[in-house]
């Protein structure tokens, strides 16, 4: 089944070498409602190799979401350069379209790429069982549980065929048990089907369980305080002593920052 999740060659990216994600000295300032400049990000240099998972943790308002929008090309940096293979954004809220069935929501990227309704549905339907969603193809989002909605949103993201996934607090809205299940599922999905991932979260444990490297950002303007390598083999157990030690280090780096952070859950 993994072959169906493989990246779909698109004219725009064919021929271009996969650089993963490369941010060089990126700064971004935006204007608030009174017109004052707010520096969101400052001198961010990060490199994510193809098929690598980078988690970005940091206090609320440190520009994590801005970072993802820069990677996705939704914003342009004021300073520095962003080089990236085509990226798809998965926002914190699932943002499923309430008028489409679960199946049509999952197939949305395929419809947008020009596939007919029938072919798009057939490709998405083939993955529903693997996601534990079979039987819910024709349910509307309002009839699904939070975890199921998130899985449909993931399916939509994966079916876009983009090589880079930008996940913005993908499990932030879920209860603890569902979140743990979904983290496990995502780890499995990425093991079967490697993608370049930028995962923004304020859950340090989540970052360490899922990522190859964890970048710790400072409060606004966001700067990279530290990049931690997570070398533990997969599948990872939360209770692994090495991971707990890393978690303490990451929390230490966050707490060393001048303003108090919103605690990791």
């Amino acid at each position: 089944m993994p072959t169906q999740l493989q990246s779909r060659p698109r004219p725009s990216q064919s021929g271009s070498a996969d650089v993963g994600i490369a941010l060089q000295g990126v700064g971004r300032t935006y204007r608030d409602r009174r017109g004052a400049g707010v520096r969101a990000l400052d001198a961010i240099s990060l490199r994510v190799a193809p098929a690598e998972v980078l988690a970005v943790v940091g206090p609320s308002g440190c520009g994590k979401s801005t970072l993802l929008e820069l990677i996705c090309g939704l914003q342009r940096p004021d300073q520095g350069t962003v080089a990236c293979a085509p990226a798809v954004l998965m926002p914190q809220r699932d943002l499923l379209l309430p008028w489409l069935s679960a199946l049509d929501n999952a197939a949305l990227a395929l419809r947008i790429s020009g596939l007919s309704r029938e072919r798009a549905r057939a490709r998405a339907a083939a993955l529903f069982a693997e996601m534990g969603l079979d039987g819910f193809e024709h349910s509307r989002p309002s009839e699904l549980s939070g975890g199921m909605r998130q899985r449909v949103a993931f399916l939509r993201t994966l079916l876009s065929g983009k090589r880079v996934l930008c996940l913005d607090e993908p499990f932030g809205a879920l209860d603890a048990i569902t979140r743990a299940e979904m983290q496990e599922w995502l780890a499995g999905a990425l093991a079967r089907e490697p993608r370049t991932v930028a995962l923004v979260t304020h859950d340090v444990e989540e970052a360490i369980v899922l990522a190859d490297r964890v970048a710790v950002l400072s409060p606004r303007p966001g700067r990279v305080l530290e990049v931690l390598e997570v070398e533990a083999p997969r599948p990872r157990a939360r209770t692994d002593a090495a991971l707990i030690a890393l978690r303490e280090r990451a929390l230490g780096a966050l707490q060393g920052a001048p303003t108090p952070m919103v605690g990791a859950r």
């Binding site: 698109r10 929008e69 996705c72 090309g73 939704l74 990226a87 798809v88 954004l89 998965m90 926002p91 809220r93 943002l95 379209l97 309430p98 008028w99 949305l108 990227a109 419809r111 947008i112 790429s113 349910s139 509307r140 309002s142 009839e143 939509r156 876009s160 983009k162 930008c166």
Partner: protein
């Protein structure tokens, strides 16, 4: 649906009982109002030319059923076509306004101002241009009714989540695809809500249209009939015609609610669950 056990009612209430609960309150209210009206009209403090009693109106309704039905036909046509055209015009204008700031600045003040122009001012021009048929009446109704559709649809289009549009952009959606997949379906229930508001004024709009424009022919519509009856001091028949308009407006309103459930079931769904 078997997957929604929570939607099942806690107590056993069969369809007849539920229906009775839906129908009884309005019936009781109407009964009380009719009773008060009857007492007041029969008390001798007014004349039957000014206020006929309910039983006189009922008799007029019964005696003139054929005439009233014949006059309902053109009025219903005007209202039906008028609402359909107002929905189309209001929706189209809303989409144009949504896509173009320039058009928004140009069109919105005009649309608002148009609502303040008394129809009597422009009626002679409408008749001069389009004569005595149904068309000038449709123009009047559309003029009155497009506005609520325009406003609710613009708001519906604006209410689409910014994050939703960002997401669609990273899925490589074109502007048109973003409109087709996200904005259009979001605006549809808003437009129908606007049409429901418009409907209540459409019936009055039809009366104004029939009063302000000239009609040739025997059955010129209920508005025309009401004016003719009032002039001829046939007050009970004028009231009977008003009762027909009253019932017609209610029927149209519920027909539109049904249409909304068909066209935009996702918007109607939460109400079903909490009912």
């Amino acid at each position: 649906m078997s997957r929604r056990p929570l939607a099942a009612p806690a107590r056993q209430t069969g369809p007849p009982r539920r229906r009775a609960r839906a129908v009884l309150p309005p019936l009781a209210l109407v009964g009380a109002l009719l009773g008060a009206w009857e007492l007041y009209a029969e008390s001798g403090s007014t004349s039957s030319y000014v206020l006929p009693s309910p039983h006189a109106v009922a008799a007029a309704l019964w005696d003139n059923a054929g005439l009233l039905a014949a006059n309902l036909a053109p009025t219903a046509t005007e209202v039906g076509l008028g609402i359909a055209l107002a929905l189309a015009l209001g929706f189209a204008l809303a989409v144009l306004i949504h896509f173009s700031r320039v058009l928004r600045r140009a069109v919105y003040p005009l649309a608002i101002g148009s609502q303040a122009v008394p129809i009597a001012v422009i009626a002679p021009l409408l008749v001069f241009w389009w004569g005595f048929g149904v068309f000038p009446k449709l123009v009047v109704i559309v003029l009155i009714c497009f506005f609520p559709v325009l406003v609710t649809t613009v708001d519906g289009l604006e209410a689409v989540d910014r994050d939703q549009l960002k997401l669609l952009r990273t899925l490589d959606a074109s502007r048109w695809q973003a409109f087709r997949f996200a904005e259009l379906p979001a605006a549809l229930p808003a437009a129908i809500s606007g049409a429901r508001i418009a409907l209540t004024v459409a019936v009055i709009g039809a009366y104004i249209a029939e009063s302000q424009t000239v009609t040739v022919g025997t059955h010129a519509g209920l508005g025309h009939e009401i004016n003719a009856d009032l002039t001829a001091l046939q007050t009970p028949r004028a009231y009977a015609a008003a009762v027909v308009l009253f019932a017609f407006a209610i029927a149209c309103f519920y027909a539109l609610s049904l249409a909304e459930r068909r066209l935009a079931p996702w918007a109607a769904q939460p109400r079903e669950v909490h009912a």
